[in-house]
Every structure is written in structure tokens, then in C-alpha cells.
Symmetry: C2
Subunit: 203 residues, 2 copies
DNA sequence: GTCTATAGCGCGATAGAC
DNA sequence: GTCTATCGCGCTATAGAC
């Protein structure tokens, strides 16, 4: 059996609080979340929350840093990998993101919404060490001789991957929720890289 | 001169409150917004807010309904227009959305984030009278004989249009904000319909 | 480390004068 | 209709016993 189990019962108290906080913050956002909700979710007393983390604010910063890392940690290593082609990068990014987002569908809307509330605060958490401009990804794009700005490709890639999760509530009401969402996402794993290759070929 | 001026000074008090509430809610979200902020922004007293609208909650519902209409009102009339081709629909939707989002960049993240907090509550506000399945848009797609589910096209369209606005804080930190964002969006008005036509041709 | 009890205060809402 | 003043709740945070 694996050492790390999902619904582990004997986590340290600190870990239990972080798990609970992550869940409650991600679902409700900072402003709507109550420390009492988090304490109850963690199965501990409210006072303990302030014992381990100094305040709701501090706890939030810890969680937020983790969530940002979860959302963007995927991207930069792949973009800067010299051993893969552009096409392989498209596939890797698409598959990694869709798998991750299937498990954490509320993650993007949470992070993006909280970032908007205070854009300066977490800016340094996102910045890759190397700017995108100097990435292997951009170099490879330029070798293709495309006139289209590399940014468009990144926007299209992330937009086509992430938007279906962010826009799920709307898209579902428009169709009456009669869609098989997981199956559609599985299809997109193959389709998105194909579409990006087409954009690349044409450009 | 136009009768309706942007920074009109002599709006009715009710309108001033709605303007202010729209601004504050959209910027901060429901949970982080304070009724005192809204009153100050409107240049009126806090008590008046409860005089015109019964509560923060009620005021929010009014604003939310308007914002949802703003975000999705564009879509369905175009999708159900029998007088335009698919290609023309791509162009119309792209241009209308980018123009609107340039003026209201915080709109999508606000609506999507609040919808996630309470998906049931505003579901009826979004539902088009006719389901997407029965729309002219889907009929036209089916006539093309594509095997790809119509939903993918809608996701790609909305994703490529809306994501750059939603993800602006991230995308900017990745590049160091050295991009000319408005110019990129202007380019996308032409590029997105082209990309969608390619997807259509290949499918 | 973990609990109970409570301090302290910001918030939404209202009473009541004008 | 619009204001000032204030209520009272619910929240975060802390004191203090165990």
C-alpha cells in the first residue's frame, strides 16, 4: 500500500488544518470563507487555527502560495525543456493540465479570482526565474519563422484547456447539463494539440 | 450631444447606487465588498442603500442579473441568427466580445467566480430560451458534416476570447508586463475567426 | 497541544430626526 | 428622501485552564 493515502486519518494537526483551509478557501474564496468553517472541516477547535497559523490572513497566504504553485508549476518546466519538440510540449501541457484540473476543477477560478483582488501581492510567486521571452518554447516557435506573437499560442493553449473548467457552470446551463463532460475533456487531450499544430503550420 | 453620458452627475440616487455597487462588487466580489464601500463610492449615506434595496443580498442579486446579461446576452442572438454564415458568426462573436471585454475586463472573472459560489441560484438567468442543441449555430455545424461535438467549437471560441482577459494578471507576470495588451487583443479579432475556420475545415 | 470562554470590533441593518 | 447615531450579530483573535 502507498504511504500517502488520500483520506488519511492521522495527519498532523497542522496538515489537517491546511487540507481543510485549502478546501474551504478554494470553494468559497477568501471573503466568504469563515475560520469556523475551516476548523469544523478540519475536525479541530477554532483556537488551534490561530495557534498554528497566526491569523486567517496568514493561513490564506500559505494556501494561496500552494495553489498558485499547483496551477502554474506544471507550465514552466515543460516550456523550458530542450529535449522535447513543440508538438511534444503541446501534448504534455494539455494532458498534464486536463488530468490535474479533473481533480481540482475549482482551482483556476479560485486562483484567478483571488489574484485579481490583490494582483501585486502574489506576483512574485508566479514569475518564472526566466522570462517567457527567453524560454525554449519561444525559441522553438521563432525557429518555425512564424509572424504571430508567441503570446497568442500560449493564450490559445491555456484558454482552450482551462476555460472549459472555468466556464463549466455556464456551458452546462446552456446545454441543460446533458453533456458527458469527462468524455469531452478526454477528447480534448487529443484535439487541442492537433489544433495548435494547425495554427502553427498556417502561421 | 448624447443623452446618456458616461460620467453623468445627476443620475437618480437609485442609479448612483447601482453604478457604485456594480463597480465595487465586480472589483472585490460579494464577500469582500462592504456596503460602506458602495455607499462611499456612490457619494451617499449607508442608510440610503437599505432604503432603496432591502439588503446587501438583494442589491447583489440585482447587479448580478445585470452582469450575467452583459456577459451572455451577446452570445445567444448571434448563435441563433439564420441570416449569417458560421464564418460571419465567428467574426461577430469575437469582435463583440473583445470590444465589450476591453471596457469590462473584470466582468468574466467576477461572474464565473460568483456563479461557482452558488451555481443553482442564477442558473435560470443564463439558460437561453432555446437550448444550444437546437440553435442555428449547431445546425450549421452539423451541415458541415463534422464529427467533432459542437461543444468543442463553443469552448474554443469562448476560451480563446475570454481567457486572455481572465488570465491577464498571470500572463503579464510571466512576460514582465512588457506586452502591448490592447494591440494583441486587436490582432486576435482577426486571428480567432481564422483559427476557427481552420478547425472547421480540418474536422 | 488542545480545549472553553470571551474579548473586541467590523459589519449589515434600522430607528428616528429633519 | 436623506441624514446621524446606534444596535446587535457574527467574526477573528486571544486569555487562560488543563
Amino acid at each position: 500500500m502507498a504511504k500517502v493515502v488520500k483520506a488519511e486519518m492521522d495527519l498532523s494537526t497542522e496538515e489537517k488544518i491546511k487540507e481543510a483551509a485549502s478546501k474551504v478557501f478554494t470553494k468559497k474564496g477568501y471573503g466568504n470563507a469563515r475560520t469556523r468553517d475551516i476548523a469544523e472541516e478540519a475536525g479541530i477547535n477554532l483556537a488551534l487555527l490561530n495557534y498554528y497559523f497566526r491569523s486567517k490572513e496568514k493561513l490564506f497566504e500559505v494556501i494561496m502560495a500552494e495553489r498558485i504553485q499547483k496551477l502554474f508549476g506544471i507550465l514552466t518546466p515543460i516550456l523550458n525543456d530542450s529535449d522535447t519538440t513543440l508538438q511534444e510540449k503541446f501534448v504534455k501541457i494539455t494532458e498534464s493540465y486536463i488530468d490535474m484540473l479533473n481533480e481540482h476543477p475549482d482551482l483556476p477560478i479560485f486562483v484567478l479570482s483571488e489574484l485579481r483582488n490583490d494582483p501585486e501581492r502574489f506576483a512574485d510567486r508566479i514569475q518564472a526565474k526566466t522570462h517567457l521571452t527567453k524560454s525554449v518554447f519561444v525559441k522553438q516557435l521563432q525557429e518555425k519563422g512564424t509572424e504571430i506573437h508567441p503570446f497568442h499560442f500560449l493564450m490559445n493553449l491555456l484558454g482552450m484547456i482551462i476555460f472549459p473548467f472555468v466556464g463549466k457552470p455556464i456551458l452546462q446551463t446552456v446545454t441543460g447539463g446533458e453533456e458527458n463532460y469527462p468524455a469531452l475533456m478526454e477528447q480534448r487531450k487529443k484535439l487541442i494539440p492537433e489544433w495548435l499544430n494547425m495554427m502553427l503550420a498556417k502561421a
